[in-house]
């Protein structure tokens, strides 16, 4: 049961209030019609399943309902950082 700091509510709350929303920094292709099936399935299904520190998206379902970014160790489940969208990006993941 994680304790997550919502960057919008500025409060540390129980995991019960949140829902996970997958790996962060997956950009939606600009031109889906032009993609091959392989390219589309890569966007839709394939994830890095990274072992270690990992940026992912969470949504404060039973709170402010906003999506935000969480950097979590997938080994110890320690949450190292939280950020609003734009504060960190795939080019600048800190």
């Amino acid at each position: 049961m994680f304790l997550i700091d919502c960057p919008y509510c500025k409060e540390s709350r129980d995991q019960n209030e949140f829902s996970p929303a997958g790996e962060a920094f997956i950009a939606r292709p600009q031109n889906p019609e032009e993609l091959s099936d392989d390219e589309w399935s890569d966007y839709v299904f394939y994830r890095t399943n990274h072992k270690g520190d990992h940026w992912e998206q969470w949504v404060h379902t039973n709170g402010c309902r906003k999506y935000f970014l969480v950097k979590r160790s997938t080994i110890s489940h320690e949450i190292l950082e939280v950020a609003a969208f734009g504060e960190v990006t795939s080019e600048n993941p800190s």
């Binding site: 129980d14 949504v59 379902t61 080994i75 110890s76």
Partner: protein, 743 residues
Amino acid sequence: MRLKNHKSDFIDQSEALSFIFNNKSYKGYKGDTLASALIANDVLFFARSFKYGRKRGLMGSGVEEPNALVSLEIGGRYTPNLKATEVMLYDGLSAVSSSNPNSIDFRALIKPLHRFMPAGFYYKTFIKQKVWAMVEDSLRSLAGFSKAPTEKDEDVYDHVFHHTEVLVVGGGVAGITAALEVLNNSKTTRVILVDERAHLGGELFNEFQSDDTAISWHHDNLSKLLEFKNVANSRLKIFSRSTAYAWYDHNYIEVLQTNATGESLISGGTQAARKVLHKIRAKEVILATGAHERPMLFETNDLANIMLSQSVRRYLNEFGVISGKDVVLYGNNDSIYSTAIDINNNEINCKVIDIRPSGGESETVLKAKKLGIEVLQGYAVLKAHGTNLVKGIEVSSVEMQGKKWRLTGPSKRLNCDLLASSGGFNPVVHLDCHCGAKTFFDEDSQAFLPQKVRKNRQVCGSISAIGFWKDVVIDAKNKAQLTLLSLGEIKKSTQDSMSENYLDYYNASQFFVPIEILNRPKVFIDMQNDVTTLDVALAIREGYRSIEHIKRYTAMGFGTDQGKTGNINGIAVAAQFLDVPLSEVGTTTFRPAYTGVDFGAMAGREVGGFFDPQRYTTIHDSHLESGAEFEVVGQWYRPWYYPKSGEDIHQAVNRECLAVRTSLGMMDASTLGKIDVQGKDAREFLSRVYTNAWMKLAPGSCRYGLMCNEKGMIIDDGVSTCINDNHFIMTTTTGVLQAFTLL
């Protein structure tokens, strides 16, 4: 039997309680556990074992007990598979064995066949031969422990949430010291102290009975704790009879508290909870969970009245009861001598058998010898004699040759009616490992210890193999200082040093597992699941090498005690058969829960009408009047069909369908989700969320639409209506509504 003239702080002899066990009535006192009261009444058999139906007596005195499983009360108060050692006695208590030791048992009748029924027997004989389906029911009815409850639980259970800076698990010397150190050195830090027993103090009172300074330390520090507790807005909470059974991520710990007396409190119309589940979020955790004693291994070591040395001492000192008159203590460390001294002080005959050779004795050993206690050094027990109850033992001299123990002399027989053994101590690392922490094997203490450093967690006391209480006090203060430092309450921690020989207190010698003894039959490792050393040997012969596989092949460490007494011995036995060091075998994985947790406690108040909210539409009464049957969709009670006299569901639905086809039907769509879509791009929006076309839908018309996500999976469907070009009303299905609005 209960000792006359025995004084104990824990037993109130002025208050006699009567209770029933296996349909016979007995008397005990306030402060007794069911186990101690039955020892006082000379009851020696508590239950039968799982597989072979062997009659078993007590082995332990607390949470580690593998044999004495009982079910408490009947009807709506029935609770199965409790440990008799943990059930506090109350007036009118009624309990039965999980498997009655006094009735005729099929498993016990086929005793000569037991040697042909090792681990894997049922699989090889029935499942592999594809006849399992024919025999499953009859076999299952023979085995097992208590019956499952059949009636609705009459009791209530509560959930309570807590936030604290420091959680101390374990209320022995280490826990008391750590809690006080934190409270004394900070003005704001909140502390929760939980302990599984009814009284704080752990083993101090039992182990150091003859040490006056220990006893007065206990009294002084308990009163200091109470000073902190008995003030308004106290920073300290103490939960006794509370077991921290699971540690989840981010220091979230669940603690199950049993009502102080164990029974339900129903008074004056209000019903107090029988058990309370405390959900604790702590910044820092101090583990002072102590250690469990492990037994020595020998042939037929499962007879009744073969117990753990510390448990015999606890029954003696805390409850004033003992189950024998001619006691043998057997082990590889000094704790058996302390037990022997306490037994001798109560004028009961006892002998000590120590596998360690003479020479280099500690003070405790010399003290025992000085008191005239007969001591056999360099001897081991090979076998216990007796049918169901121990009547005597076979001993032989042993010697360490190279790195292996060897039997060196002819065996001889000694008589005894109670055998208490100690093969060293297993630190209670379970909780620490629930979130993935590892253990390591420490050669000095011959124990698996918790990993040294972990964020926001300290360990102190005998969980780190520190046994002597004065060293434990120093260790606990040091660790509490580190906790305060981590909280930022102090700038620099003070660390005092323990006595030089702090590991020597138990002086646990090497695991005593000579192959000559392990190769004998009926050397039980796991009493509850009837796993013997030969089962482990068989698992290895079958090709299993990993301890996790050996565990699953033999069922070692499963069951309600989760191998608290047996598992580490099992690992040592496997190491011996595999001929590798213990550290290479490692431990099995520790997972929640540490002890059994009642389903009732997990559910709390969320039962019956509170299990799930019930949502009714405004015309619910009208549906009722029309005789509707309801179906629950997304918590809504929606009319399913309206049966008329004698109709079943199919007849009613056919009639309703026909009515719609030939005249008119009306549907209450108020439970559907409704989304008002407005704006100049409303049509475009619908086209993007639905898979079908919306650009040409005329105002005043409606259309059915299907929603897919990017993976191509259908997520919802529904009808949307066009009010005008810039305004649509969309409906979603009742069940999906909540998911939509929450995301």
